[in-house]
């Protein structure tokens, strides 16, 4: 299973249903061996795009290439992709072995070789020895693994996954995220993964393609997307954030009557939003040059296990009616210093963590 992964190039793919654009002119390249996540809320078009890759939905126009080969007109069964469905889609009338061996049987692989490859695939997903189980005897996590084994048994060069973990409980899901990622690294298959869970996308991906309203909104590494979201939708959708309304004039941002320093060049005047990640805020004992500061009153303080979430109402005279969320780690040293509800606080946000996005007009 050496370096034989395929790259995928998607060009100007558009799909409409009546007046509704499920996909609007999407172009996107997936490099070979990459783990790319299509991330978006439900109805954003991410699954439609995956189905276009799989061949179950034909776009109105546009091109899909696997390697150098144009596949947009190819039916699904000739595309040679492995696919894991949201509800696993295991064949209930076959046992585990027969499920995993199904693609091999279709390809006319001999019985002995099928047996070997099935055992190998089951071992890869850590299900050795469960070949004779019936599908309905398996737990959700095990079914997930069988679906995965079935999708990789014929050594496809591209693996597509449609929210494969969404039916699992949180703990198992988090374990599987890491396991899937390790499996991808081991098998070196170009993987396109669909999820609506931004944390899952951040955890697993080499790059994330954020899709909304059928359009590609941003394509970047998890780190970049988190640090510098390209618009208000992404800032709000990925990670926790407080968005404060700010105005920019002559390259200087201001929040109410207070001036703000930012980490980027603001060449355009207009309404902007300051993206504040709750964990980046800190309680400032004195004002520093490398930070922006906000004055306010603690409105609420919520214990959440590993951290303490605080809602701070900013001084309405200076900032207008706006509030902030701040997250402080719950270590014993900070616990005693935490301000109580009703206390006045000065919050600091490092300039490197101060990031502005344009305030959206209309939908996008």
């Amino acid at each position: 299973m050496a370096n034989n992964a395929l790259n995928i190039s998607i060009h100007n793919v558009t799909k409409t249903y009546g007046d509704f654009y499920a996909l609007r002119d999407v172009s996107l390249d997936v490099t070979s061996g990459e783990f790319l996540t299509l991330l978006g809320p439900s109805g954003s078009g991410k699954t439609t795009l995956l189905m276009v890759l799989a061949g179950f939905i034909n776009p109105d126009y546009g091109s899909v290439k696997f390697g150098d080969e144009e596949v947009v007109l190819k039916p699904p069964h000739l595309r040679g992709i492995g696919m894991v469905f949201q509800n696993y889609a295991l064949f209930p009338h076959m046992n585990v072995e027969q499920n995993v061996g199904y693609p091999q049987k279709l390809r006319g692989v001999s019985k002995e070789n099928t047996k070997i490859s099935v055992e190998e695939a089951l071992a890869t997903v850590k299900l050795d020895g469960l070949g004779h189980r019936q599908v309905d005897e398996l737990s959700g996590g095990q079914r997930q693994r069988v679906a995965l084994a079935r999708a990789i048994v014929f050594k496809p060069k591209i693996l597509l996954m449609d929210e494969p973990l969404s039916a699992l409980d949180k703990k198992l899901r988090e374990e599987m995220q890491i396991e899937l990622r390790q499996l991808h690294d081991r098998l070196n298959i170009t993987t396109v993964y669909v999820t609506h869970d931004q944390k899952e996308a951040l955890t697993m991906s080499d790059r994330i393609a954020v899709i909304n309203d059928g359009q590609l909104k941003q394509l970047d590494t998890p780190n970049q997307i988190y640090r510098s979201p390209s618009n208000a939708f992404i800032a709000d959708f990925i990670g926790e954030s407080s968005l404060l309304s700010a105005t920019v004039k002559n390259g200087i941002a201001s929040l109410g009557s207070s001036k703000l320093k930012g980490n980027q060049k603001l060449s355009k005047d207009g309404d902007f939003l300051l993206v504040i990640r709750p964990e980046k805020l800190f309680i400032a004992s004195k004002k520093a040059r490398d930070a922006n500061h906000f004055e306010g009153v603690v409105e609420d303080s919520i214990f959440q296990g590993e951290s303490q979430l605080m809602v701070i109402k900013l001084d309405p005279k200076t900032y207008g009616e706006q509030s902030l969320r701040m997250r402080l780690p719950n270590s014993s040293s900070t616990l005693s210093e935490l301000p109580g509800i009703g206390d006045r606080v000065t919050l600091g946000l490092k300039i490197v963590d101060s990031y502005f996005v344009e305030k959206s007009h209309g939908g996008s």
Binding site: A54, F56, P75, P76, H77, M83, A89, F91, Y102
Partner: protein, 295 residues
Amino acid sequence: MAVLEHNINEVSLSRLEKRENYTFFGLTVPYLVLVGAMIIIPIGWLFFLSFIGRDGSFSFENYERMINSKAYLRIFLTTFKISLLTTFFCILLGYPLAYFMSQISRKWASLCMIGVLIPFWTSLLVRTYAWLVLLQKKGLINNIAIDLGIITEPIKFVHNTSGTLIGMVHIMLPFLILPLYANMRAIDSHCVKAASSLGATPVRAFWTVFFPLSIPGLLAGSLIVFVLCLGFYVTPAVLGGGRVIMAAMKISSNIELYFSWGAASALGVVLLVVTMIILFIASKLVSLDQLGQRR
């Protein structure tokens, strides 16, 4: 104190549970009475009658006649042949239709379902006589075919096996389609998609995945059709024109023509036993729950 309170609760809670159980049992009483009075007792009475000979004493003569008479053997063979053929043609016509309905959107499928159900809700006699009007020598179909010059002599559609089959297939078709369609709707469409993503051609995906998953519905539907056919009376009587004699018709003639309740009862008992045996065998193949409900 805590223990005592706990015990008090236990007693009153178990009393509550008992009361609920009685209430639920009470709901079944009207039906049980009805079944007992209208079905169990008459069948018991028939069973008893079947062992009464012509002279009024206990005898096996009704059963002996059935074994010795060629006419009875022929009637049973006809009954099975017609039932099997009807089931076969129902599958032939019903499976593709049910498949089609399961693949289109629910909105269009409901429209198709109305098309299936309207004849189903129409009186059996009306439909049977309608077929007689359509199929007879000077009926609509023969007249049109002759006018168009397709045939010169009218084809004999009715008062024979083919007429009986046409009518019975039409009447039985909904009984096959309803459970089959319910079963097919419940098949996860992703399974077929998974098959084709794994490399199966559409035909291969159908035969290796969809068809095996539809077998429970197909068996359930076929079973209903077959068992209903075994005891079917009206349609074969009208469209068979007396030439196709099935078990139910023989029962009727035994009573109406020969006033031989004993012979009729014996035939009824045999038919009942055969049906029970078929149901028993079928229950090993397919869960009988599926006859009544969606999976």
